[in-house]
């Protein structure tokens, strides 16, 4: 089946630093692709390139068959590729409902329709009890759900999740992992940056490993976890063997 | 003058809209000292700097401190409020008419090689360089100075190493204000000043600081030289009343072309 997202040889440098080097990957319409690598490996830069916040110096990005290089972020979102941010960015003075409604408005021009859709999504992520709370007053775990809800409200076909588990405790992580699985099961492809190995192993159909801006390994979770180059990249860091999908 | 502004921005990330109006007060203070106490501004600038230092610290402690973490709109509005108060207090206290300070040096002139130089301007120029250099030394050599630079680079990190950030902020604002107070005093024999002049001085400061780079001291210094030259050229080729047009047009162009300036860091 044709990939939903096809990235071919993108590169990006900042002054003297080559942040991403000749990166290629693809995501199928219903899979979860995990993107891992040590800090500074270029993962968030890759996300910025894919979502239009940065332009690649070289290379091609095709989403649903069409090139999205050079498109502004809002256009890419409307095509169905939506991202979340590593450090969550809620609209602090707006309520949870109004936050998510902004996402819904990208698909529904009428305010009532957008509101209704927002409520649905809020229930889906489990924030139903906090609908009218100000986003600024939520806990971190709740803000992560909010970030997810907002992105979901844009009715994406591919969701870019940037370290959505960061800063959460094990119980919260389990809950988010379950939520992400549900989202994927509903037909949305996911590209996931994550440091929590247990979560990555549990969620991903395939995993790509970045180091110094380059992809060094790609494959099934179990294969990747045992790959010597991956172990080398992470040398000195712990990783957890977890059952693959 | 610009050095003060850039110091405040560099350390606190707060833009001081009241900068020009503070300078006007510096000028008026110098005038007061000259007319009431007979102190020449070239000596009295120290007093002006001191008064403005204290004012700066007070403003910072009372007002700015509370909004250091607030959204930028709030900071801008706050300083705008301060500017309004300062400008109109000057208006009320001193009246709207332009003033000048008499200094015995004003009339003196010198031949410096082939160039005919006005002593007053020369002294101002030299003193400005000396003060800037002194400030530079202060920032490089003293503990407080180094702490300020640390706070400018990384406020959180500075907190971690135990720097009293609030004190640093107060000092930065105070010194920034002192600079501008001194600048005002030094310039008072040369330029006529009036309360409404605060805005054009602020604009001039912003012009300089943006060109040189916000938060960079050498940038402010070089920017100052550049902008002065540009404005002088403008005054030569265009009518005097259009000189202001030049500085505003310059500001627009600068804003569009290089908001980060020659040496500066980009705005938050």
């Amino acid at each position: 089946m044709t990939p939903l997202l096809e990235v071919t040889g993108i590169s990006r440098r900042f002054g003297g630093l080559q942040a991403v080097r000749d990166l290629s990957l693809s995501v199928a319409p219903d899979e979860v692709l995990g993107l891992i690598g040590p800090n500074g490996a270029g993962k968030t830069t890759a996300f910025n390139l894919l979502s239009g916040f940065l332009a690649p110096d070289r290379g091609q990005i095709r989403f649903a068959g069409r090139s999205i290089v050079g498109l502004p972020p809002h256009a890419i979102c409307r095509l169905g590729l939506c991202r979340t941010f590593q450090i969550v960015r809620p609209f602090p003075r707006l309520s949870v409902l109004d936050n998510v409604r902004v996402g819904a408005l990208s698909r529904r021009a009428r305010m009532e329709d957008a509101r209704a859709r927002a409520r649905e999504v809020i229930e889906q992520v489990g924030l139903g009890g906090k609908v009218d709370h100000a986003a600024g007053a939520l806990t971190l775990a709740e803000r992560k759900r909010l970030e997810l809800a907002r992105a979901l409200a844009t009715e994406p076909r591919l969701l870019l999740l940037d370290e959505v588990m960061a800063g959460l405790n094990p119980t919260e992580i389990e809950a988010i992992v379950a939520l992400v699985k549900r989202i994927n099961a509903s037909g949305i492809a996911i590209l996931l940056i994550e440091h929590n190995m247990r979560a990555v192993m549990s969620l991903s159909h395939r995993i790509a490993v970045l180091n110094f801006g380059e992809k060094i390994v790609e494959g099934e979770p179990a294969a990747v976890a045992n790959h010597p180059r991956v172990i080398e990249a992470y040398l000195g860091e712990e990783y957890v063997h977890a059952p693959s999908r | 003058m610009a050095v003060g502004l850039t110091l405040i921005f560099g350390v606190m990330r707060v833009v001081n809209f009241a900068h020009g109006d503070m300078m006007v007060w510096g000028m008026y203070l110098a005038w007061l000292l000259a007319t009431r106490a007979g102190i020449d501004p070239y000596v009295g600038f120290v007093g002006c700097a001191a008064v403005l230092f204290v004012t700066g610290v007070i403003v910072q402690r009372l007002l700015v401190d509370r909004i250091v973490d607030a959204p930028h709109e709030m900071q801008i509005l706050l300083m705008l409020g301060v500017a309004l108060v300062l400008e109109n207090a000057a208006l009320v206290a001193f009246g709207p008419d332009p003033q000048r300070v008499r200094s015995p040096l004003r009339a003196a002139t010198l031949w410096l090689g082939p160039i005919f130089v006005d002593v007053a301007r020369l002294v101002t120029f030299v003193l400005a360089i000396v003060l800037t250099f002194a400030l530079y030394l202060f920032l490089q050599r003293t503990d407080l100075g180094r702490t300020m630079r640390a706070a400018a680079d990384n406020a959180y990190g500075a907190l971690v190493i135990g720097a009293d950030v609030r004190r640093v902020y107060a000092a930065a604002f105070g010194i920034g204000a002192a600079c501008v107070g001194a600048a005002g005093a030094l310039v008072s024999p040369i330029l006529p000043f009036q309360p409404a002049g605060g805005l054009s001085l602020s604009v001039a400061s912003f012009n300089i600081v943006i060109i040189g780079g916000m938060g960079s001291l050498p940038g402010a210094f070089l920017g100052g030289l550049l902008v002065s030259v540009a404005e002088s050229l403008g005054a030569v080729f265009l009518s005097p009343s259009m000189k202001e047009l030049v500085s505003f047009s310059l500001l627009i162009v600068i804003l569009l072309v290089r908001p980060a300036g020659l040496f500066g860091r980009a705005p938050v």
């Binding site: 939506c82 109004d98 902004v102 | 509005l77 409020g81 908001p259």
Partner: protein, 316 residues
Amino acid sequence: MKWLAAAALAVLLALPAVLSSYAVTVFIFIFFYAFLGQAWNIVGGYAGQLSAGHAAFVGLGAYASALLSAEVGLTPWIGMLVGGVLSAALGTVVGYLGFRFGLRGFYFVLLTVAFAEVCRIVALNTDAVGGALGYYITFTGNPRQFQFQDNRVYYYVALGLMLMATLVVAAIERRRFGAYLIAIREDEGACEALGVNTFRYKMLAMVVSSFLTGVGGTFYAFYLFSLQPNAVFGIPLSVEIIIRPIVGGAGTVLGPILGSFILSPLAEVARVYFGQGGWSGVHLIAYGILLIAVVLFLPQGAYPALRRLWARPAAR
């Protein structure tokens, strides 16, 4: 809430019958500045793009309609729209330059101030429009020339303008346009990631805001009959425009109106008691202090604070 607004409206409509001419004038200024503040509110309050140069649009609209009326005989009722369009054009330029070049916060403020000052200086130096002496309109009292013998007609025109602008803002707030503007004010980057074309919506806000402000310029011209570049393009006017929404509640429908009702009387009192001679700047000092106080203690303005107070006794 609705009945309260209707009652207030009824009172305002009936007032001229009982007020002295002086009081009517005070109200005219309350309404007029509320109108200008409401127009600014769209781009400054809702979208969060602080423009401190809105006087440029007032001036442009004022000079345009005044000149068209005097030189070409075009009735200001149409000249008003021309002025609005011209101001919208200037607004487009300023907005385009600001937003395309990514000027945020303080840099954008500087840009708007710079444009307003450029307008002021150009007008000061252009003898064709009166230069430093200003441009004067001869009073004819002819309604077709947007001039009225009776102060009270101006009262209703100003009230009408204020209501019109308020309805526009209320309509914006109810729709996607308003929701997007508020979100843009909170976090533009996050908006972009959610499919909001922030550039387009900021521009739209700027255009609407500047158009309305330009229309207001016509009222200014044909109520005051004299256009002085320093007054009509100057910073003090821009301050008058922005302080009402800010004190009353930026980004709310009623904020600018509340702000105007607070500030105009205040300014009037200051002017009456201190207005002679060198004390003419006192009301601006009061503005400055109020601005500082609002930022420190009531950052969202008076209206949201009042609304909270109102809601508390009614809370379950």
